[in-house]
Symmetry: C2
Subunit: 193 residues, 2 copies
DNA sequence: GTCTATAGAAGGATAGAC
DNA sequence: GTCTATCCTTCTATAGAC
């Protein structure tokens, strides 16, 4: 079949991590949902839960980055792209009962002071997002020294808005944070002129 | 003594939640660190871990709000106050090995789609922070309809910056988010003139 | 190699001694 | 009422049957 057991485990784990976090997701829960025998986890991931977590973090981070790129690439200009990104996130939240937000933020907070290998994986993802965002903003006309800052503002705004929107079950924080990010981006673009 | 067993349990739990999250913190771990017998948890919190979690969330939220008010109240003007708030957060992160950030964000993400009573507690805290911030910005001269938005920008920026800074072990996200929040606040204040 | 059964530790919760 | 001992479940991980 097109999807291997290994991929099914990775996909299922990513989904469960997003909803229940790292410590809140059990290996038995994963294999049950992925319709795989328990032993297949240790067959495909000899390092156990930690190895599985690492791969899920890096993989989800990469997929989310591709989603960013797709949305921004499909927009006529960078300002519209950023606006579409936040509006799409708000809509997706609403449609998924406020579950479908950042795939790694919950895990990132859980492991930041308790699991160094996993913390490093989340840091690697965030750093990758920042660099990708900075490159895109720079090529859109944001001055070099400002491009990284704008990328950080975008990502921190979105992450923080996810925290509040998921807790409050309201898209308001995502919408407001999106507007603020657009304003910050416009200001940075003005500096270039 | 000045501090009761109940308070010691609440303080200890708040600290452990911040570091390990809700599911990552065990009741046995709590009583061990609080130097209390195991039974005292169910004596003081008959509702078990969930009741304890609820009280910790609301209490930590209130204490953090007081901290906001203290910092903003001690600053000569609102812009300086917001700057001090982010700078203080960055310094505290650095000093505490990037553990001392938002006391409830980790729990908020963990429970958002898995524990409705606890989700409501986190939502109550965030809504309280937004309203307190909006009131303060309004009295500082931000037009009424903008005051709530600025408060949301402040809180989402800080929360998102905490996620990145803790994961990356770098204060850069908090500092950049702080600058952006100051810029947004200044723009809102200009609208009033 | 795929899968089941189970080990050994830790989880939350409770009963009852004192 | 304070505290201890224990219950039952669930956790990660492993051993070994097929």
């Amino acid at each position: 079949m097109a999807v291997t057991t290994r991929d099914r485990i990775l996909d299922t784990t990513a989904e469960l991590f997003r909803r229940y976090g790292y410590t809140g997701t059990g290996l038995k829960q994963i294999v049950a949902e992925a319709q795989a025998p328990f032993g297949s986890i240790y067959h495909h991931f000899p390092g156990g839960k930690e190895q599985l977590g690492q791969e899920v973090i890096l993989r989800s981070g990469g997929m989310y980055q591709e989603l960013f790129e797709t949305i921004l690439g499909a927009s006529p200009d960078i300002v519209t792209g950023v606006r579409n990104l936040f509006e799409g996130a708000a809509e997706l939240l609403r449609q998924t009962d406020y579950a479908d937000a950042c795939p790694i933020a919950t895990v990132a907070l859980e492991v930041a002071n308790s699991n160094e290998p996993l913390r490093m994986a989340t840091a690697e993802v965030f750093e990758g997002w920042i660099e990708a965002g900075a490159a895109r903003f720079a090529s859109a006309g944001v001055p070099g020294e400002k491009a990284r800052d704008v990328a950080i503002v975008l990502i921190t705004s979105l992450e923080g808005a996810f925290v509040l929107s998921r807790a409050m079950r309201d898209t308001e924080p995502v919408r407001v944070a999106g507007e603020a990010t657009v304003v910050a981006l416009r200001a940075a673009l003005r500096d270039a002129a």
